[in-house]
């Protein structure tokens, strides 16, 4: 019997032979994996680079997109202008960046801490869940930026309303994912532990916490992104006392487009870095979890 019998190989409607043969990946596995990784890296760098290049070109030649949207150099900054901006050399500017970073870190820490705590309590106790679930679920849907006037009234015009708004936003994301994570720990794990007569604390320490950590970190990572979102939102609404959002708003009200674009680029960078840091911490804490494929992976 030969492998290449012309009568039986191809005709799709009649009898046919399916061949299962090695593909490129099997014949040259090392080269294949190397090529794939190279291609992935090339895409990860190449796509943003290509977009930046397009942007630069559109700016340089003042393209008229769709016959409607003209890239006017007076209103749009190019990537080159952003990277080489004078603003990046001004101390005031970096003070604003630090102001934002600090607000975000403090707000995130407060919100994440409270979210994990309440989430754990609700995940572990039916009673706590019964007491808080309807309330928190109702509050969950409130757009947090809408709470700003309330927070301004409560805390006054200082750092607290801004930080608290970030904390509250982060809290809800972390709370929900933590509670869901605890409740999703398989019954079998709990029963196995109970059969050894564990205490409540031991159950938490050895089973529930590690069992739910991967999910909790998914929530933390989402919350990290949202923290930047709300941070910039708050700073746009009350631009006094600095921050990246106020730079963006300053650029807009003072008609300094460069400032706005530098601000937007920095906000994106801040969000990316922060998310990466949260994920890196997650990897350290949960070595057993499979690697995810969220953005930024090398």
């Amino acid at each position: 019997m030969t492998n290449t019998d012309p009568n039986t190989t191809v005709d799709k409607r009649g009898p046919r032979v399916l061949r299962r043969e090695p593909g490129v990946a099997e014949i040259k596995p090392r080269a294949h994996v190397r090529n794939r990784k190279a291609a992935e890296r090339a895409l990860a760098i190449g796509v943003p680079a290509a977009l930046l290049l397009l942007w630069q070109l559109a700016h340089h030649y003042e393209w008229n997109l769709l016959g409607y949207w003209k890239i006017d150099q007076r209103f749009y900054a190019s990537p080159y202008e952003i990277v080489t901006s004078e603003k990046l050399r001004e101390a005031d500017f970096w003070r604003d960046v630090w102001t934002s970073t600090r607000r975000m870190l403090i707000g995130f820490a407060l919100g994440a801490g409270a979210g994990v705590f309440i989430g754990l309590a609700m995940g572990m106790s039916r009673l706590v869940r019964a007491a808080l679930d309807p309330l928190l679920t109702a509050l969950y849907t409130v757009p947090k930026l809408a709470l700003l006037p309330l927070f301004l009234t409560i805390f006054g015009f200082d750092e607290r309303p801004r930080v608290m708004l970030i904390a509250v936003t982060v809290f809800f994301f972390v709370w929900i994912s933590t509670m869901a994570a605890i409740m999703a720990v398989p019954e079998g794990y709990r029963e196995a532990a109970m059969s050894f007569g564990v205490s409540r604390w031991q159950m938490f320490r050895h089973v529930l916490l590690p069992g739910s950590l991967p999910q909790i970190f998914v929530g933390l990572r989402i919350a990290a992104g949202v923290a930047v979102l709300i941070l910039i939102g708050v700073e746009l609404v009350i631009p006094s006392q600095g921050g990246i959002g106020s730079l963006i708003e300053r650029g807009r009200t003072l008609l300094i487009p460069e400032l706005t674009y530098v601000g937007i680029a920095l906000a994106a960078l801040l969000g990316l870095l922060f998310t990466l840091v949260v994920r890196w911490i997650g990897r350290l804490l949960i070595p057993w979890a499979p690697e995810d494929n969220a953005p930024g992976q090398g």
Binding site: K70, D72, P239, T253
Partner: protein, 413 residues
């Protein structure tokens, strides 16, 4: 089968609902945005020039009666701070309707405040209509956003102060210029008369009767706007006269309406308080007025890019003419007693009681741009670090006075 039929009905119901919502939204829009110029205009401005049926587009009124007859010597001034504000007689400059109807899009942040009266009333009382102008108003647009949109002719004319953004835009090569002024308080410069200005807590001074502004150094100043706003020009001026820089104070941005409260509870020691909010502080010994707007200077007005100023000059002149006529006819000195009927129109637009307007002092509506305001304001903006350039732009690159001059003096200016 039954399931699918039910689905079918649900879809129909959903579609109907969507249509109903869209239809009602459109309906509201129509009612809301359509001013009714005809009646209002004719019965309120019974002076001259209107009244006749203008079906033949001003053939009979145009040549023999001089449309500028009511604009004499007083229609143009020397632009000095102590001048009398420019005025024509009521009803002047008379309408010179455009041959072809033209549409104008006006962008503004505010609609219905007293300082918006010239364009609100020109629209509501049909003064634009008399020029054969179809004016569309877009509200909620800041000066900076309006300037950007004027550059590609999306917006024709926009409202605002002589702000840092205007100067930054001009320095970046935008074609925007100020084409008309707006107003200033009649008693500007006199702190003994309560008005818009810098108000402070009396206890911030050792002698509140003769307040020394140096004592405010290091305290907190409340303002509704950021450093790039023109209001920081008169504030800066007041402090400069006392030898203090505004930068030596802590600035706290607080919404306009909350400023009296912030002063009261000590969150700020001083604040720039606008019309008519300062009336909450007047006659209260706890607060003193320490500085005002400089006399004879309008700090803002309307702005247009070359799209309107040059490419559609005739339309621009007609638009400005309608505004100037509105100022002369309904908003000239004494308007709070003589033109209550028109103020009622403004009150209706703003949806507030008439007393809110009649209870406060008049402002002087001024279509001219006083000399040097832009350059002096730039000086302060430079100090505040909100300008993107280092050399003051001369005012002929910021002001285009030719349009209002043509409106009151005719084409040769």
């Amino acid at each position: 089968m039954r399931g699918t039929r039910k689905d079918w009905w649900l879809k129909i119901l959903g579609l109907l609902l969507v249509f109903a919502v869209i239809a009602s939204a459109c309906g509201d829009d129509d009612e809301g945005s359509d001013p009714e110029p005809g009646d209002d205009a004719s019965d309120s401005s019974g002076d001259d020039s209107s009244g006749d049926d203008s079906s033949d587009d001003g053939d009979d009124g145009g040549e023999d009666a001089d449309p500028l007859a009511g604009c004499g010597e007083g229609a143009v001034t020397d632009l000095s701070p102590d001048r009398d504000v420019a005025r024509c007689e009521p009803g002047y400059p008379a309408p010179q309707p455009l041959e072809e109807r033209a549409s104008v899009r006006l962008a503004t942040n505010f609609w219905g405040f007293e300082f918006t009266a010239p364009y609100v009333l020109a629209l509501e009382l049909g003064e634009f209509e008399k020029e054969n102008l179809d004016v569309e108003v877009v509200t909620g647009v800041s000066l900076a956003d309006g300037i950007v949109q004027m550059e590609d002719c999306t917006v024709d004319i926009t409202v605002g102060g002589t702000e840092a953004s205007l100067h930054n835009g001009i320095s970046a090569g935008l074609t925007v210029k100020q084409v008309i002024g707006n107003y200033f308080p009649p008693d500007a410069g006199d702190t003994s008369i309560d008005q818009t200005g810098l108000w402070a807590r009396a206890d911030a001074f050792t002698n509140p009767d003769d307040p020394d502004l140096t004592e405010l150094e290091g305290t907190t100043l409340g303002t509704a706007v950021a450093l790039g706003s023109v209001i920081n020009y008169p504030i800066g001026l007041a402090f400069q006269e006392a030898g203090v820089s505004l930068l030596d104070l802590d600035l706290e941005v607080i919404p306009s309406a909350d400023l009296p409260l912030a002063l009261e509870n000590g969150a700020v020691q001083s604040a720039w308080v606008l019309d008519p909010i300062w009336s909450q502080l007047a006659d209260n010994p706890d607060f003193v007025l320490v500085a005002t707007q400089p006399p004879g200077e309008a700090l803002g007005g309307l702005y247009a890019s070359s799209c309107f100023r040059e490419d559609r000059r005739e339309v621009a002149v007609a638009f400005i003419r309608a505004l100037i006529r509105t100022m002369n006819t309904y908003l000239a000195e004494g308007y709070k007693t003589n033109n209550v009927e028109e103020l009622q129109v403004l009150a209706d637009v703003a949806d507030i009681p008439l007393e809110a307007f009649t209870g406060t002092p008049e402002t002087l509506m001024d279509w001219e741009m006083g000399e040097g305001t832009s350059e002096r304001a730039q000086g302060f903006f430079m100090e505040y670090g909100v300008l993107e350039y280092d050399e003051i732009i001369p005012e002929d690159q910021v002001y285009d006075r030719s349009i209002y001059l043509e409106a009151v003096r005719g084409p040769e200016g």
